[in-house]
């Protein structure tokens, strides 16, 4: 009896993760190899086993690609992390100055509730949008290693912010909650920014290969 080629698709999330962390030049061959073995395994041993195998391989491959990133391009990672840190300071400082200046210009301070509301929410929006933009910028600079760079940066900022919050713990109050929340969401926004840049680049790099045969 001939074995029919499997039409089963590997787990989409695993494929997406591998694609996200793989340098472009390796992306086609690594994913192609995983698909080929998955397809073979699914037709021989069943879908469940093949899916488990695919997940195991994907997790190991992503872990290996992250570790390799640090070994292969340590200066690129260090440089973009330092650059991102400086960008953070410039962005945060200039936006907060701009917000306060605008509030004064339109005399919102005459109504104290409105002043506090706009001050807090403008800073909250800034803390979500700015990390996203900074994540995009450092991902653009770290071509091919977008995820490693933005994850490292997000982790450093997260630990830094967490340590700062722990230090000021006696001064916490309920009104600080939105600010506390954004402190932990900001590192995730860096990674989301990096992921989007990576996805766009990945889609662009697939275009020429679609015509290649």
């Amino acid at each position: 009896m001939m074995t029919k080629p499997s039409l089963v698709q590997p787990p989409r999330l695993a494929v997406w993760l591998v694609n996200l962390f793989t340098p472009y030049e390796q992306s086609e061959s690594i994913l192609g190899d995983l698909f080929e073995e998955f397809s073979d395994l699914a037709s021989k041993s069943g879908e469940a086993l093949a899916r488990r195998w695919f997940w195991r391989q994907s997790v190991k491959t992503v872990a290996h690609l992250i570790a390799t990133g640090f070994l292969v391009v340590p200066w690129l990672i260090a440089g973009t992390v330092v650059g991102g840190w400086l960008l953070c300071w410039v962005f945060y400082w200039s936006t907060q100055k701009a917000v306060v200046a605008l509030l004064y210009k339109y005399q919102v301070y005459a109504h104290i509730d409105a002043y506090v509301f706009w001050l807090i929410y403008a800073v909250l929006i800034e803390r979500l949008i700015e990390p996203f933009i900074i994540g995009c910028i450092i991902a653009v600079a770290a071509k091919g290693r977008e995820m490693v760079v933005t994850m490292t940066f997000g982790l450093i900022i997260g630990v830094w912010s967490g340590a700062g919050l722990a230090h000021f713990r006696p001064h916490w109050s309920e009104s600080n909650f939105p600010l506390l929340l954004t402190t932990f969401v900001s590192p995730v926004m860096f990674v989301i920014g990096g992921g989007i840049v990576r996805e766009i680049r990945s889609a662009m790099s697939r275009r020429p290969s679609a015509t290649h045969s």
């Binding site: 061959s29 994913l31 995983l34 080929e36 073995e37 190991k60 491959t61 992503v62 290996h64 290969s209």
Partner: protein, 110 residues
């Protein structure tokens, strides 16, 4: 190239797998060959990281094959060992032989 350039343990294994497979050497076959002969589960990421490092050192060369449907329309990347790679594997092999000669590994250290 320095005469002290030896292959690392996993690099050595990967180059030997490429030599065994000849024209059929690409990610899947290399991974399966290593698993079958060493009983060690390796990830495709580890294989490519090593192959890329070897290619950067000039020990291995690669070329893209044609896309196939079972690979989701993606191409295979075939690898072969260069003359420089063969020299490196021989040098590493000689070094290991020289280090192990005269040792009765089974009796003395088991």
């Amino acid at each position: 190239m320095s005469n002290r350039d030896y292959l690392g343990e996993f690099e050595h294994i990967v180059v030997l797998a490429l030599l065994r497979l000849g024209d059929r050497a690409y990610g899947v076959t290399v991974r399966q060959e290593i698993e079958a002969r060493t009983s060690r589960e390796v990830s495709i990421g580890a294989i490519y990281a090593t192959l890329d490092r070897l290619e950067a050192k000039g020990y291995v060369k690669s070329r893209l094959g044609d896309p196939t449907p079972e690979r989701g329309g993606r191409s295979k990347r075939f690898f072969r060992v260069s003359a420089k790679g063969v020299k490196a594997v021989n040098r590493t092999h000689r070094a290991l032989q020289s280090m192990t000669s005269g040792l009765d590994l089974v009796r003395s250290y088991s």
